[in-house]
């Protein structure tokens, strides 16, 4: 098992948002987590990535059998966890390529593998940038600074391509994207999926799932997974809306 979440309770500023969540993810799987605003989707992503403001009050998360909650965010990243941010942060003054090489080399160092010098790394970067149709101009610019919404999201997927995570959590990567940008991002993700990694797609809408086919769909409401199924569940949800699922679950 790559990731196992058991009875997770978590929140921020003393407010509980995740209220007993269970989820198991195996290598090679794509899980979509859908839910209305405020259901705890982004909180789950941030807890997995180790955001310092979020507090876990109960339950456990095992990643490759190890206690994830004891690991710092940077340790998690080096161990293969990657979160694509809903709102990627701008880092003025640091170029995209400098930043990516630094992150890449930190990981290589951790794995006891050889670090790349700027020339070697640029070769790798050029190759990976094609995945999300990014030009070298983007690589020279400061990280996310002045990027459009779509460019920021593509940059997140580029980072994912460089870091090759074992577990990628895409937090509303589809939000704010037009159809072209959505297609580029989805194609990038599809090329990165393989039998050795897993992806958790967090999304409000079904449309991303037209491009990235999930193996499982989970509906999150009020901090709990209230229904799990296959991709047909997402289509049904799209047709009937979140009220249907809420009403439905109340009867159960």
């Amino acid at each position: 098992m790559l990731l196992e979440i058991r009875n997770l309770h978590a929140g921020i500023d003393g407010r509980e948002i995740i209220k007993g969540l269970n989820l198991s993810v195996e290598k090679g799987q794509i899980h979509a987590i859908m839910g209305p605003n405020g259901s705890g989707k982004s909180t789950l992503a941030k807890v997995l990535a180790g955001h310092p403001n979020y507090e876990v009050t109960e339950g456990e998360i095992l990643y490759e059998g190890k206690n994830l909650l004891e690991m710092e965010p940077d340790e998690r990243a080096r161990e293969g966890i990657f979160m694509a941010f809903q709102y990627p942060v701008e880092i003025p003054g640091v170029s995209n390529s400098q930043f990516l090489r630094l992150a890449y080399n930190e990981k290589m160092k951790h794995l006891g593998r050889e670090e790349l010098d700027p020339i070697e790394f640029n070769e790798l970067l050029k190759e990976k940038a094609k995945l999300v149709q990014m030009t070298s101009d983007f690589l020279k610019r400061s990280v996310n600074e002045g990027f459009s919404g779509g460019e920021k999201k593509r940059n997140e997927i580029l980072q994912m391509a460089i870091l090759e995570p074992k577990l990628a959590i895409l937090d509303e990567t589809d939000s704010g994207l037009d159809i072209d940008a959505l297609r580029i991002v989805a194609e990038g993700v599809n090329k990165l999926r393989n039998s050795e990694n897993a992806i958790i797609l967090i999304t409000h809408y079904q449309r991303l799932l037209n491009y990235i086919q999930p193996d499982f769909v989970h509906i999150l409401a009020d901090g709990k997974i209230i229904k799990s199924g296959t991709k047909e569940l997402a289509i049904e949800l799209e047709e009937k809306g979140y009220d249907w699922i809420k009403a439905n679950s109340a009867h159960c």
């Binding site: 310092p52 979160m83 941010f85 942060v89 880092i91 003054g93 930043f99």
Partner: protein, 435 residues
């Protein structure tokens, strides 16, 4: 205390003045400046302009003054501080004196370069020198400008004739030995339509205690353009005070970038005055201090004439127990309609004991203007640190990288490649970051 230190400077002045063959007008100027200094002494914290910077450590110290042209600094040492792009366009100051024999001006054939002594022997240059020297920086500004003026000996007069475009950056290399006091003095006159890049670099040769007290006067005629990079990287045990004043004429551009990394106690007064319509001034800077360093920048941008543009972007990074002061005044005079002025001072505090005192000031006496100013003092953003950590960077590396990024906006302005990469390296080393 007061009596003792004045006696010291009076005594060295008496010897210095008795040795020179300077023209009468300069002897008079020097004598007046000394008597002004004797009257006012060094500034005190009771003076509003020096409220946050206590110069008592300078006043207390006794330094040695070079009466003769002598120093133990070798050509080899000097060459370490010469930038790649300026190998044939650097001018050297040792212990405050301009030393043509250590300089190389091969690619500056279009520039008139003279020590003050050389300029006295050239009727044209002498006339301009007499007219301009001390006209931009009044010795009565404070005790430091008075003292510098009193000790004008071998300064540099740089004259860029009409329409000359100087391709090579002109580097002024300042080196001062331990225990010495240096009074560098430069007058830079640019005629109409000329263009040049000036690098004013104060360097650390030894980690000792010494005192540099400089005055740089710059006159930029109509349609002339100067890019001015000032880099202060003196010994962390030294004292440094500089007053820079640039006058900007019709359609001329003064673009300055001031980097402060060195000295134990430093003060930079930078003044840009618009003397005609349609000038532009960019007065930007970065101060990065740590340990027990103290850095003070006082700037004045004076919109005397209409339709001039000024931009000021100063950034500060303060670590350890260091302290930084920024005071930026923009004056828009009654007549100066159509003024466009912006000022920003952003500071990053990296420790709980670091301190910044910032005071941006706009004084506007005309309604038809566009002006804005602002100052911030803050710490690194938690979200930014988390973002970098989530990509596998250790907490300290994330912090250092963000700090570097904060500074880069200023360093990126520098168009002399080797200077820019030197500063990048210095910043990264200092922050223990890497790229």
């Amino acid at each position: 205390m007061q009596v003792k230190r004045e006696t010291v400077y009076n005594e060295i002045f008496r010897i210095s003045a008795s040795q020179t063959n300077q023209p009468e007008w300069l002897k008079e100027l020097r004598t007046e400046a000394l008597s002004f200094f004797s009257e006012v002494g060094f500034p005190s914290v009771e003076d509003e302009e020096w409220k946050y910077t206590n110069v008592a450590p300078i006043a207390r110290e006794t330094f040695q003054y070079d009466f003769k042209v002598e120093s133990k600094i070798s050509e080899e040492t000097i060459s370490k501080f010469v930038l790649e792009e300026a190998k044939k366009s650097f001018l050297v100051f040792l212990n405050g004196r301009f030393r043509p024999e250590f300089s190389n001006a091969q690619s500056l054939a279009d520039v008139k370069i003279a020590s003050f002594t050389q300029a006295f022997n050239d009727p044209d240059l002498q006339k301009t020198l007499q007219q301009k020297l001390g006209s931009l920086v009044d010795y009565r500004k404070n005790g430091f400008t008075a003292l510098n003026t009193a000790f004008i000996e071998e300064g540099l007069f740089l004259f860029i004739p009409r329409d000359k475009i100087i391709e090579s950056p002109i580097q002024l290399v300042f080196l001062t030995e331990n225990e010495k006091i240096a009074f560098p003095r430069c007058l830079i006159v640019m005629e109409e339509g000329s263009e040049a890049t000036l690098i004013e670099s104060y360097n650390r040769n030894q980690e000792g205690k010494y005192f540099t007290n400089a005055v740089i006067e710059i006159s930029i005629a109509n349609e002339a353009k100067l890019k001015h990079y000032r880099v202060q990287r003196e010994s962390h045990n030294s004292f440094h005070v500089t007053t820079t004043c640039a006058e900007v004429q019709c359609g001329s551009v003064y673009d300055s970038t001031n980097i402060t990394l060195g000295a134990k106690l430093s003060r930079h007064d930078v003044i840009a005055i618009f003397k005609a319509e349609g000038g532009q001034a960019f007065v930007d800077g970065l101060y990065l201090v740590s340990g027990e360093q103290h850095s003070d920048t006082h700037s004045v941008i004076d919109h005397v004439f209409p339709n001039c543009l000024s931009r000021q972007n100063y950034k500060g990074i303060v670590d350890g127990k260091a302290r930084a002061v920024f005071n930026g005044k923009i004056f828009v005079r009654e007549n100066a309609h159509g003024t466009d002025a912006q000022q920003s001072n952003k500071n990053l505090l990296l420790s709980n004991e670091a301190r910044v005192d910032t005071k941006p000031q706009l004084e506007i006496f005309n309604d038809d203007v566009r002006c804005s100013h602002g100052a911030t003092v803050g710490q690194l953003e938690e979200e930014e640190i988390f973002y970098l950590m989530s990509r596998g960077l250790h907490h300290s590396l994330a912090e250092n990288l963000l700090t570097y990024g904060f500074a880069e906006e200023i360093v990126n302005k520098i168009e002399v490649d080797s200077l820019k990469s030197q500063l990048d390296e210095a910043l990264l080393n200092r922050l223990k970051a890497k790229l």
